[in-house]
């Protein structure tokens, strides 16, 4: 009797994980909000019949994945910001994917050489200027943000935000650390107020007359234009693609990686391939006014109206490598301080 009970218990235990990883599933740890993924995942489910499961958080998913180890249920990790993605690679939490579909859909500079990550969208880090108080063409590069003439006229979010860190990292790559520190100090001196809020708040601040120039990701501006209440605010700023005539505008990515433990590997690769397909790329990029990573898909609607983006060709790997230096620069010039 006792034996029987133990056997039943063991079987029940064994059945648990089996039911969790039954065929027809793919499990996603996502640093992107679940509702942004929803239309895509619905399309994927419709096409393949594979069910998708999502956990969204802004921090801690890498730790969870690491600790869960070989038993982790997660198949893919979806991330924003190259440094986060790179962290997964450095911690050896993801594996390479060698898929002809992915390799032909995503250009070489937007994927890891061994397929440990693939970009799905790109977004430019742009400069926004007041239509009223700044002439068109008065500022065309990131470098010019340090110019004295912008004294007391610039607003940004915290220098520690990953999007700003990535921008500073790219400047370190182009100009070196010392130069970037001086530049950052000068930009700080030009700030109209202590860094705060999000990218949208900086655009609002321009509309309010608090400052004349801000830095922000393209899609925040796009999403404001699509929101009835925020459109009048967004319409007061002009968008500038910095360094468009030179090395190109700094871009960051959102991406996807296959986890090392992936219990549903085949389904996961199917999902990755699907997300790189023109159909999904169109949905993905439009939902959040981003740029598709697949060059065959042209930006549409709003994003197309803004004109072509000439992305900085600097390798994303380099940007990720400079992260730490950039973070420390921000501390050293006390960018977020009074």
């Amino acid at each position: 009797m006792r034996m029987k009970l133990a056997a039943t218990a063991a079987m029940a235990l064994a059945a648990l994980p089996l039911s969790a990883s039954a065929d027809g599933e793919v499990n996603i740890y996502s640093y992107r909000q679940a509702y942004l993924l929803e239309p895509l995942l619905n399309a994927f489910e419709k096409e393949t019949g594979i069910e998708t499961n999502v956990v969204f958080a802004k921090q801690g998913l890498a730790e969870r994945l690491e600790r869960e180890g070989r038993n982790s249920p997660a198949d893919v990790v979806m991330t924003v910001d190259i440094s986060r993605i790179n962290e997964l690679v450095e911690r050896d939490l993801v594996q390479g994917v060698d898929s002809d579909v992915l390799n032909s859909n995503i250009p070489e500079n937007l994927r890891h050489p061994e397929g440990k990550w693939f970009a799905l969208t790109t977004r430019g880090r742009l400069i926004f200027t007041s239509k009223e108080r700044v002439e068109e063409g008065e500022i065309t590069t990131y470098e010019e943000l340090a110019d004295d003439k912008w004294n007391d006229r610039i607003c940004t979010r915290s220098g520690k935000h990953p999007y700003n860190i990535a921008l500073f990292s790219s400047l370190i790559a182009h100009h070196g650390e010392e130069w970037t520190q001086q530049w950052l100090q000068d930009v700080k001196d030009n700030l109209a107020r202590k860094p705060q809020g999000g990218d949208r708040d900086q655009i609002k601040a321009i509309a309010e007359g608090v400052c004349d120039i801000s830095i922000g990701n393209s899609y925040y501006y796009g999403n404001m234009l699509q929101d009835e209440n925020q459109r009048p605010i967004a319409e007061q700023v002009r968008l500038v693609f910095p360094n468009a005539d030179g090395r190109g505008t700094h871009v960051n990515i959102s991406g996807i990686s296959l986890t090392k433990s992936a219990p549903n590997r085949d389904n996961a690769v199917k999902l990755m391939e699907f997300l790189s397909s023109p159909e999904a790329q169109r949905i993905y990029a439009e939902a959040n006014t981003e740029y598709p990573a697949n060059p065959e898909v042209k930006p549409s609607g709003l994003v197309a109206e803004w004109g072509e983006i000439n992305p900085d060709e600097l390798s994303l790997q380099t940007i990720a490598e400079n992260r730490e230096a950039a973070v420390k620069l921000v501390d050293r010039v006390d960018y977020d301080g009074e």
């Binding site: 063991a10 064994a14 648990l16 969204f56 958080a57 801690g60 070989r70 730490e324 977020d336």
Partner: protein, 562 residues
């Protein structure tokens, strides 16, 4: 009949105990503490393995400011919560004024509003494009922000006010319960000896209420220390902000764990100092509460002052945020209504109830074991079990993952090696992990209030019960729990409301496709879509109201328990 004995603790030691019975309590208390302390110990363990030594860089650059900001924030929030909490608790308990009955429970309502939500609301109201400044500009004909000065809500002062407004109910709740428990005759005696009402308040009432107020205040301070949502949104650079910077931007989890451990030590020192300073006081209330409280009858202007004292925090901490959320929710109803709300609400309710019950049970076991066996060892166990509250939720979540996933993987390997089957992850990523995390995080709340209430029950109760043949267990069930039922209900409900609002640990630990109200709100708030998060935020607030009303009733009823 209340004795405020200011003498060495008479102690509840051996005479009360049958040895065998006491051993059982000690063993269960030790086991529970060992399990509950695991996540905190895991974080301390992680602190030994930093990616690189963060301190030289921190000390050179931002650490002094982090520290200074943190101290300012804690002192500010502490002062606000003490002033509001004590004055309103005193007013509704001791003064008669119009609306007193209403304010008794209404003062607790801001507690239902998560700090990150009130921060969003006030920002949208008070920033440049918000209605307040817009009206000012219309009235005075100002053109833009450079024409006038307006206080910046996204500042240290703003954060202090926001956090203070939603946390003062901790102080209010415990202070009010303590005031109600005090015998009115004490007050009368002091007055008859020539002390004014005010001096009686500071010389008699407050010292007696001090243990309860200290519990409330320490909860406030720990929550302030760990707040990330509000300070991040307001760009206020506290130690917690530095911790997340080290973790997320420098990719140095070990370094972040070191900062967390430092904060933990700081809290432990603070709490120890407070306890040490009243080490020679022992207070027992005999709960002979037949004396009804005779509230002051006051002149009309004084009554109005009482109304203003209560209405101010209530309006700022509840009416304004809930009303604003209501307006936004109405405006964006079609975009934000979602059939999943029902499920998310049920998830929140289920998790919060489970955690409230668990923390209460554990809190009672720990506090009672300590009563039975009041040794230094038990005191340390008690403190150890409450450390989860002194850590930021996201850090604690990592601390929860470490032992749970460790156990899962250990069992899995064992089963694979012995039976050739894989058990996978049994605990990680389940609702259990969440309830466990909540328990670890909020045990301080329930254990602290049960302990302080239990301390007030005079040992003669135990002696009587035990001499009549009850075991310690039976004494607990038949004597203490009935006496404490108001406290128990309050403790459970505070934990419940706290769990409803809990965000960072829930985000990290939850199962697939699992949303609570808080995580649902966060999805939108984190994408700078505040309007879409109004409706679910409002539901969190509304869901917190019912338990809050229950809580208030249970406290008012303490007077009727003879």
């Amino acid at each position: 009949m209340t004795e405020a004995v200011t003498a060495a603790d008479p102690g509840l030691t051996q005479p009360l105990l049958a040895k065998r019975a006491s051993r059982r309590w000690i063993i269960s208390a030790t086991l529970i503490t060992a399990i509950v302390a695991l996540p905190v110990l895991s974080v301390i363990f992680l602190a030994f393995f930093p990616e690189e030594n963060i301190w030289p860089h921190l000390i050179d650059t931002t650490l002094p400011r982090y520290l200074w900001t943190t101290v300012q924030l804690m002192v500010g929030v502490g002062a606000i919560t003490l002033v509001i909490g004590l004055s309103t608790a005193w007013a509704v308990t001791m003064c008669e004024f119009p609306g007193r009955k209403f304010f008794e429970w209404a003062m607790l309502l801001p507690f239902a509003v998560p700090a990150y939500v009130i921060a969003y609301v006030y920002t949208s109201l008070l920033d440049y494009a918000g209605p307040v400044q817009r009206s000012l500009r219309d009235w005075f004909g100002w053109q833009n922000a450079s024409d006038y000065w307006f206080p910046e809500i996204r500042s240290l002062e703003g954060a202090t006010l926001m956090i203070g407004l939603v946390l003062y109910p901790y102080v209010y709740l415990l202070a009010r319960a303590a005031f109600l428990e005090q015998s009115p005759s004490l007050f009368a005696v002091s007055r008859s000896l020539g002390h004014s009402a005010l001096s009686t308040f500071f010389r008699v009432v407050l010292p007696i209420a001090r243990p309860a107020v200290a519990v409330g205040l320490s909860l406030v301070l720990m929550e302030t220390l760990n707040d990330f949502g509000t300070v991040d949104f307001f760009a206020v650079q506290t130690l917690t902000a530095g911790l997340f910077d080290t973790w997320m931007n420098l990719g140095n989890l070990g370094g972040a764990a070191q900062i967390a451990t430092t904060m933990l030590v700081f809290v432990v020192i603070l709490v120890t100092l407070e306890r040490y300073s009243r080490r020679r006081q022992q207070q027992y209330a005999a709960r002979d509460n037949r004396d009804p409280i005779r509230r002051f009858t006051m002149s009309f202007p004084r009554q109005m002052i009482c109304v203003a004292v209560c209405a101010g925090p209530f309006i700022l901490g509840f009416v304004v945020p809930a009303g604003t959320l209501g307006l936004y929710a109405w405006e964006y109803f079609e975009e934000s209504w979602n059939p999943d709300f029902v499920r998310n609400t049920l998830n929140s309710l289920f998790l919060s109830s489970a955690a409230a019950i668990t923390t209460l049970l554990i809190g009672v076991i720990l506090a009672y074991s300590r009563r039975l066996h009041n040794t230094r060892g038990m005191q340390i166990l008690m403190r150890l079990s409450s450390l989860g509250y002194a850590m930021p939720g996201a850090v604690l979540a990592v601390g929860v993952i470490v032992p749970l996933a460790g156990f899962d993987n250990w069992l899995d390997s064992l089963m694979r090696d012995t039976f050739g089957i894989s058990t996978g992850l049994l605990l990680s990523g389940t609702a259990f992990a969440l309830v466990f995390a909540y328990t670890v995080r909020f045990l301080a709340v329930s254990a602290g209030s049960v302990e302080s209430a239990l301390q007030k029950v005079t040992p003669s109760m135990d002696m009587a019960s035990r001499s009549l043949g009850y075991t310690p267990g039976k004494t607990l069930v038949k004597v203490h729990l009935p006496i404490l039922r108001g406290t128990l209900l309050t403790a459970a409900l505070v934990v419940f409301v706290d769990c409803m609002k809990e965000l960072p640990a829930t985000l990290i630990l939850r199962p697939f496709n699992f949303e609570t109200l808080a995580t649902y709100v966060y999805q939108f708030a984190s994408d700078e879509r505040l309007f879409h998060s109004a409706l679910p935020s409002l539901i969190i607030v509304l869901a917190g109201i019912v338990p809050i009303i229950l809580m208030s009733r249970s406290i008012s009823n303490t007077r009727s328990i003879a």
